[in-house]
C-alpha cells in the first residue's frame, strides 16, 4: 500500500539511518552473535531439565512412552512392567491403546478416553494439550499437524480426549478446565489467515469431543472478535479480555468473568471502574501483571492528554487491582513518573519511579490491607517455561492456570 504517509515515513527512516565504520559494525555483529549464543545455552539447559523431569514422572507408571519429538513410533503395547497394585486405572486389558494421531511419532502414546475413565478424573489429574508452536511473524498459513488434548492421570498415563481440526491447531493451549461440566477451554494464540471472523477460544466437550467456539455480545450488539484468557484461579474463576469492532469501525473492548455459579458475567473491571472521558485501562496482555496464583490482576490507567506538541498518552496516576475470586476492584494511587512492576507477595507490588535524572528507582507499594487478596503466592512462573518442545498447555484438577500458558512469543 504505497501512500504519501509511507513515503514520508520512509524518508524519516532514511534520515535516521546510521552510517558506521566497518570496524564498528563488525564489533556490533560480534556482540549480537555472542549474546545470542549465551542465551541459546541457557535455554538448552532449561529444556534438558524439563525433559528429565517429564521422563521421571512417566517412569512412575512404567509405561513406555514416546518422547515428544521423535522416538518410538509404535505403541508400547498393552504389557506394563508393574505389579497389579500399581496398575493404572483402568486396567490395561480394559483400555484400548489408540494409534498415534496422524502427526506421527511427534506425540505421546495414549489410551482411549472412555466414560468410566472420565468418571475417575480428580485430584492429581491434568488436561494436557500439545500443539505446534508457531512463529507469530512467520507464514500465516504454515503446514500444520493437528493439536491434541489428553487427560492424564497422576501416574502419567494419558487418555486421548480429542484431535483438533487444523484450523484450531495454531499455537493452541488448554487454559481452563470446567470439571463439573466435563469441558475444557482451549485458546489459539494465533488466528489463521483463512479464519476471518472466527472465534479464537472454544469449549471442548470431553465426553463428546465437540468443539464450540466462544462468542459474547458486547454493548451495542457488538460480537466479540477475540476472547483472550488473562487469569484462572484455584476456584476455577476466569478473567477474559474481549475485543470487537463496532459498525463504525471503532474498537470495543470489555473484561468478562466466568465462574461455575454465574457463568459469563461482565467483570468488575468493566463494570465498576469509573473512567474519565480520556482514560483507558491498559491491557495487561503483553506484559501481564497477573499474580502467580491467578487470583488478582493489576491494570494501570492511562489518559490521553493534549499538549503543545499534540495528543499523547500518559499515566493517569493510578492503577487498579482486580480480585478475581470476589469480582472486586480497588484503586491505588501511582506516583508521578512511576510504573507498576511485578508482584512481590500477595499484597505488595513493586513499582519503578523515574527520578528525573534519566534513572529509575525501585520501590514497593503495599496494597489496601482492607481488601485482602487471598492466599500467599509462590514464585511466579517465567514465560516460555512451557515452550520447551512445541507448545504445551497443562491445567490441573481444581488448580489455577499457569499464567505462562497465555504468553505469546513476541521475540521480545
Amino acid at each position: 500500500m504505497a501512500d504519501e504517509l509511507g513515503r514520508m515515513l520512509g524518508e524519516a527512516a532514511r534520515r535516521g539511518e546510521l552510517h558506521e565504520a566497518d570496524a564498528t559494525v563488525d564489533a556490533i555483529a560480534a556482540r549480537v552473535v555472542g549474546a545470542s549464543r549465551r542465551r541459546r545455552r541457557v535455554r538448552a539447559v532449561t529444556t534438558m531439565a524439563a525433559s528429565f523431569a517429564a521422563v521421571a514422572v512417566l517412569a512412575v507408571g512404567s509405561l513406555a512412552v514416546s518422547q515428544w519429538w521423535g522416538g518410538d513410533s509404535e505403541p508400547a503395547g498393552h504389557a506394563l512392567d508393574v505389579s497389579a497394585s500399581q496398575r493404572p486405572t483402568p486396567a490395561p486389558s480394559e483400555a484400548v491403546a489408540v494409534p498415534s494421531p496422524s502427526a506421527g511419532d511427534a506425540y505421546p502414546q495414549a489410551y482411549e478416553l472412555t466414560p468410566d475413565v472420565l468418571d475417575q478424573a480428580g485430584e492429581g489429574w491434568t488436561v494436557d494439550s500439545f500443539s505446534m508452536a508457531l512463529d507469530p511473524y512467520g507464514d500465516s498459513n504454515p503446514d500444520l499437524t493437528p493439536a491434541v488434548v489428553y487427560l492424564e492421570n497422576p501416574k502419567g498415563v494419558r487418555y486421548l480426549a480429542a484431535t483438533l481440526p487444523l484450523e484450531w491447531s495454531h499455537d493452541l493451549r488448554v487454559v481452563a478446565w470446567h470439571e463439573e461440566q466435563r469441558e475444557v477451554i482451549v485458546w489459539r494464540a494465533i488466528t489463521p489467515a483463512d479464519a476471518t471472523g472466527s472465534a479464537n477460544s472454544a469449549a471442548l466437550n470431553l465426553e463428546t469431543g465437540t468443539l464450540t467456539p466462544l462468542r459474547l455480545t458486547m454493548p451495542g450488539g457488538v460480537p466479540t472478535d477475540t476472547l483472550e484468557p488473562l487469569a484462572v484461579d484455584t476456584d476455577g474463576d476466569e478473567l477474559w479480555e474481549a475485543h470487537g469492532t463496532a459498525d463504525d469501525g471503532s474498537a470495543v473492548s470489555r473484561f468478562y468473568r466466568w465462574s461455575l455459579l454465574e457463568g459469563w458475567t461482565v467483570a468488575a473491571l468493566s463494570r465498576d471502574v469509573q473512567l474519565g472521558p480520556d482514560e483507558a485501562l491498559a491491557s495487561p496482555r503483553l506484559t501481564p501483571l497477573v499474580r502467580a496464583d491467578g487470583g488478582a490482576v493489576v491494570l494501570e490507567l492511562t489518559e490521553e492528554v493534549s499538549g503543545p506538541d499534540g495528543d499523547y498518552w500518559q499515566s493517569a496516576g493510578r492503577f487498579v487491582v482486580y480480585d478475581l475470586g470476589r469480582d472486586e476492584v480497588t484503586s491505588n494511587p501511582l506516583g508521578d513518573g512511576c510504573v507498576v512492576g511485578d508482584w512481590i507477595d500477595a499484597e505488595t507490588l513493586g513499582v519503578q519511579c523515574d527520578t528525573g535524572a534519566n534513572d529509575v528507582e525501585p520501590s514497593e507499594v503495599l496494597l489496601d490491607a482492607a481488601s485482602p487478596l487471598g492466599a500467599p503466592i509462590g514464585p511466579a512462573p517465567t514465560p516460555g517455561e512451557l515452550d520447551t518442545v512445541g507448545q504445551r498447555g497443562v491445567v490441573g484438577w481444581k488448580t489455577s492456570t499457569n499464567i505462562a500458558v497465555t504468553y505469546r512469543d513476541c521475540a521480545c
Binding site: 501512500d3 504519501e4 504517509l5 509511507g6 524518508e11 524519516a12 527512516a13 534520515r15 535516521g16 539511518e17 546510521l18 552510517h19 558506521e20 559494525v25 563488525d26 556490533i28 555483529a29 560480534a30 549480537v32 552473535v33 545470542s36 549464543r37 541459546r40 535455554r43 512463529d135 507469530p136 511473524y137 512467520g138 500465516s140 494465533i190 488466528t191 471472523g197 464450540t212 467456539p213 462468542r215 460480537p223 477475540t226 475485543h243 469492532t245 459498525d247 463504525d248 469501525g249 471503532s250 474498537a251 473492548s253 491498559a282 496482555r285 503483553l286 490521553e304 506538541d309 499534540g310 495528543d311 499523547y312 499515566s315 512511576c338 519503578q352 529509575v360 513476541c410 521475540a411 521480545c412
Partner: protein, 185 residues
C-alpha cells in the same frame, strides 16, 4: 535454523544495521534508543531456532521484533517517552537529508513523537512496513480491531499536525456467526 544462523546474523548486521536503526528511529525518535532497540531485537531473534529463509526474511523478522519490543518497553519505561519529548525539541539530532527541508523534517518528527507508542507502532508497521492489519495485529499482540483504531487515530493526528489530508482507511467488515449459531454448531 542450522549452524548458519551466525552467518546470517553477521551478514544482516553488516548489511542492514544502519537501515534497521533508521526504522527503529521512526518509533523511538532517538538514535540512541533506536540502537538499543535494534540490538535487543537482533539478540532476541537469533537466540532461538527459527526458520528464516535468507537475509530478507531475517530482516523482516527483526523489524517486527523491533516494533513489538518498542511497544512493550515504552509502556513500562516512562523515561523513554520523556526522552522522546526532549529530543523532539532539538532539531539537529539526525544527519541532513538533501531532499527534505529542515522545516518539514522537524514537523514530521514532532508529529510522530506525539503519537502513543501503540499508535506509532501500528502506523509504522502498516504504512512503512506495508503489513496487513492481521499481520500487524499478530506482530504486536493486539486484536485487529485495536490495530484499526490505533492506525485511524494515529493517521488522524498526523494529518492535523502536518496539515495534510492523509487518507484514512475504510473500516472493514467481516461476517460473524451469532452466539446462538455458535452454540448450535
Amino acid at each position: 535454523m542450522s549452524r548458519g544462523w551466525e552467518a546470517v546474523a553477521t551478514e544482516l548486521v553488516r548489511a542492514r544495521y544502519g537501515a534497521l536503526v533508521g526504522f527503529a528511529s521512526t518509533l523511538t525518535g532517538s538514535r540512541a534508543a533506536a540502537e538499543d532497540l535494534v540490538q535487543e531485537a537482533l539478540v532476541a531473534t537469533f537466540s532461538k531456532n527459527r526458520r528464516l529463509d535468507g537475509l530478507a526474511a531475517a530482516e523482516a523478522y527483526v523489524r517486527r521484533a523491533i516494533a513489538t519490543r518498542y511497544v512493550d518497553t515504552a509502556r513500562r519505561a516512562r523515561r523513554d517517552r520523556a526522552t522522546v519529548q526532549r529530543i523532539a525539541a532539538q532539531p539537529e539530532r539526525f544527519a541532513e537529508a538533501a531532499d527534505v527541508g529542515m522545516g518539514s523534517r522537524e514537523v514530521l518528527d514532532e508529529a510522530l513523537a506525539a503519537l502513543s507508542p501503540k499508535e506509532r507502532a501500528c502506523v509504522v508497521l502498516r504504512h512503512l512496513e506495508q503489513l496487513s492489519t492481521r499481520e500487524t495485529a499478530n506482530a504486536l499482540g493486539l486484536s485487529e480491531g485495536a490495530v484499526k483504531r490505533y492506525v485511524y487515530d494515529g493517521v488522524r493526528k498526523l494529518s492535523r499536525a502536518l496539515l495534510l489530508d492523509l487518507p484514512l482507511e475504510e473500516p472493514e467488515f467481516s461476517a460473524v456467526e451469532s452466539r446462538e449459531e455458535a452454540r448450535r454448531g
